[in-house]
Symmetry: C2
Subunit: 335 residues, 2 copies
């Protein structure tokens, strides 16, 4: 039996306008159907200057492999984000490579010769960031984000009953810590600080031993179960919004921690070029949008992720972990 | 900087006997070091009759691709497990294929022609299982497992302070539900029932729409963040103990739900043969063991997963989710 496929086909076939108006049927929409039916005004455009376009060498069949990363907006990790923009604008990433693929953990890229003779010289002006920057104060106003990260701003989502679908988080100590969505990002928060969390596809900054916090010249993305123990121990700077499969399906490395061993260095994948989305010499430039985490449709989507009632399911869980409620992101069709 | 690699190298270099005897240093052992230093008697042999050996066609370089699956012991899912043994012994899986690879979700294999003309006939005697079998009563004695699943047996682990490192689970309603380790497996439990949970690498039974529970002829494994919403909605029958990368790194499918679309059917990976570990015409037969989840070393390992204090880390989380405390499993060296 094709089973899961059949099940999906059955539910997808229910996603017709007539059902959208039907209360009873609406209660049984799948998360995907709820997202499909979200109103255009519930989607928020991602600024092109937040996008990094990373082109890998084509695959063996000659197919292009493009990965698009959304950099994190204020108040999070802005020093590292600036470094990554500096590195990108100077063309520093061009010719670097994927050097590590550790199953159920991370894919990491950067200069294969880092810290060795022949290491690629870094551009001037990279910031040195403090470990205190792994978290952001919840009391500063955020720049370029619709609301400051405060309990007040988050209460809005609480009114949408969002919080009840995140009943507990093993990585947050109740009652003063919890997980939330802020301006389209999964975050953990306590009374004074907020920090982004390590979900699948999030992008972070490789570093050495503390107090080294990394300069942004080596980046990784999560390709397995959320390694939440890394939260507040390493800087998160963004997430993959397109082309994740080009990283997650790369051959695993067999050296320590999944770095490619000396006898398999040919498995490294070259990064041809990384460009800022708004500086791409190519039109139309990529455009993406996310489903507002303050929208009614997102609240319905989160509820449906926590309580699957579409026909395939029997027992709704009654809750979900924040990394199992991925924020819907889609490319904006450009004619 | 090779960063994470450097960090690991630094911590691994600490794992010397002298530190094992040193209380202070022991507090800073990484989870991996704790496992390395576990006593031989804390490891539990996995019976060869619980192992499935699945050989895929060799990769493009001609390298063998062997995946080894441990089937779940009683009291869980035994009807499906018997079906899978029946299918395996009849050679039914030989010549089937990986038909679906959905990024951050599952890899699924079975008969590409399932439910279509030319579908492979199934062997006689497959059991039809009930949805009630997705959970097991906590009151029946378990066969082939060291202890029955009861609060009593679990309290043993509580004495090991294991439970405090699983402070909360978003998919379990406290106070009567929680997650535990039972006889080497991650399970959720309430007052009367226990059920296995969908962590990375767990293997389940594809099915159609309820009340169809699947017959075991189509299987999947989790290749992304734990899809815990599937718990109690689909049968889990085992986990990958070796060769996970041969499934997790396969090219993603681009049809609905990650099934390979008609124009990419050549991406399907053929399954040459599946055999029972104890019936393999090949010696030595594979032997694996897991770190007893009732052992002192496992308690230390779980504590270290929840509170990383090895030199790379700054802020211990104080908790972990059950899928981020993978049960250590290793091949037994065979001369």
């Amino acid at each position: 039996m094709k089973n899961l496929l059949m099940a999906a086909a059955a539910t997808i076939s229910l996603a017709s306008p007539i059902h959208a108006q039907d209360e009873a049927a609406e209660a049984f929409l799948s998360p995907g159907e709820i997202v499909e039916q979200a109103a255009p005004e519930e989607w928020v455009a991602i600024p092109a200057e937040e996008l990094l376009v990373m082109d890998l060498t084509p695959d063996r069949e000659g197919n292009a492999r493009r990965v698009i990363i959304q950099l994190m907006p204020a108040p999070f990790s802005q020093g590292w984000v600036e470094n990554i923009k500096t590195l990108t604008r100077s063309g520093w990433f061009d010719g670097t490579a994927v050097i590590r693929v550790q199953d159920n953990y991370v894919v990491q890229w950067g200069d294969p010769a880092a810290d060795e003779e022949g290491a690629k010289p870094l551009p001037e002006g990279l910031k040195v960031m403090e470990e205190s920057e792994y978290s952001a104060s919840t009391h500063i106003r955020t720049i370029g984000s619709p609301a400051p990260v405060t309990y007040e701003s988050l209460r809005k989502r609480d009114e949408l009953r969002l919080e009840q679908w995140l009943p507990s988080d093993p990585y947050s100590r109740a009652p003063f810590q919890g997980v939330k969505f802020h301006a389209g990002w999964p975050v953990a928060i306590d009374e004074t600080q907020a920090w982004p969390v390590h979900c699948y596809g999030m992008v972070g900054v490789g570093r050495g031993m503390s107090p080294n916090t990394g300069d942004g010249s080596s980046l990784y993305t999560v390709i397995g179960h959320a390694p939440r123990h890394l939260d507040r121990n390493i800087a998160l700077v963004g997430r993959i919004v397109e082309g994740m499969e080009h990283l997650s399906s790369l051959p695993r490395g067999h050296g320590p921690l999944g770095f490619y061993a000396d006898d398999e260095l040919d498995k490294r994948t070259e990064i041809v070029a990384v460009r800022m989305g708004n500086e791409l010499e190519e039109f139309p430039q990529p455009q993406f949008e996310y489903l507002s985490t303050e929208s009614e449709s997102f609240a319905k989507y989160a509820e449906a992720r926590a309580n699957r009632r579409d026909p395939f399911f029997i027992i709704p869980a009654g809750g979900a972990d924040i990394c199992n409620i991925p924020v819907p992101i889609r490319a904006v069709p450009t004619e």
